[in-house]
Symmetry: C2
Subunit: 143 residues, 2 copies
Amino acid sequence: MNLMLENKYTRDNLADVLRGHGINPTHQRIEIAHAIFSRGEHLSADQILALVNDRAAETSKATVYNTLNLFLKTRLIREVIVDPSKVFYDPNTEAHHHFYNLDTGALTDIDARDIRVTGLPALPRGMATEGVDIIVRVRTRAA
Amino acid sequence: MNLMLENKYTRDNLADVLRGHGINPTHQRIEIAHAIFSRGEHLSADQILALVNDRAAETSKATVYNTLNLFLKTRLIREVIVDPSKVFYDPNTEAHHHFYNLDTGALTDIDARDIRVTGLPALPRGMATEGVDIIVRVRTRAA
DNA sequence: CTTCAGGTTAGACAGAGTCCAAACGTTGGT
DNA sequence: ACCAACGTTTGGACTCTGTCTAACCTGAAG
């Protein structure tokens, strides 16, 4: 199956994905999408900025933020709020939760398929659930 | 029972609480503790700064941050990370989770007693759980 | 060609939080 | 009463993330 995956995130395919979400696939947007999707990791805005400008300075900070917010609004990516100092952007929009390693900062996915949460109280009147996030904070144990 | 509670958060009682956590109860620390505990709400650092300096400017920004971090380290309070732009400080250190209203910013507690989460994968080797946070993001439904 | 809308940009700006060296205030010892 | 020493507080400078603005490109349509 690696054969099937190896070309999944070509610039061409990403352009189609963007169009599918109603986004005009510009050069910068494709590069940003490529940075996020091709490694499937949780990246912060400045990591993305650094990746995109790795070979040559091509994309400004403003564009990175504009684009990330555009991707968020069109639900192409999600944001993960676990670190008080910065937001992580998550290419995985399937239902899932996170391990967050407080020592290393590493963020790893937990598939939501097997997870059941019982005992949540009813929502206050006039409220609608937008999502349930579970964050398991862990530490690298000494010894 | 209101009779029993009404004097719970006097300066004297708070000084004892601080001492009980190994904290030297200075004037500023007591005022900050008072601001947080007497209303039992989730406050941000700058709300606390404003409350403490309401009558007269007595406490600097640096001291508020120093003190909040000290309270965190001694587990007198907890931090709640739901808003990308600022941290909320939570006087409730009992096991509990949160509703977060994305429209109003209101943060309300969910008692953890009735909640069960099943299906969480085993922790990676050498990891210890520090805590599990569940955040239910809600919106005020239009109409 | 020109027009125009959408996209990009640099740099100024705003807000949260940290850092630092100086000043302050208690405490204990003499 | 004085001094030394320690812990605490402080203003202000600083860093960092993220937003805003006004100018500037670019490419499609007339």
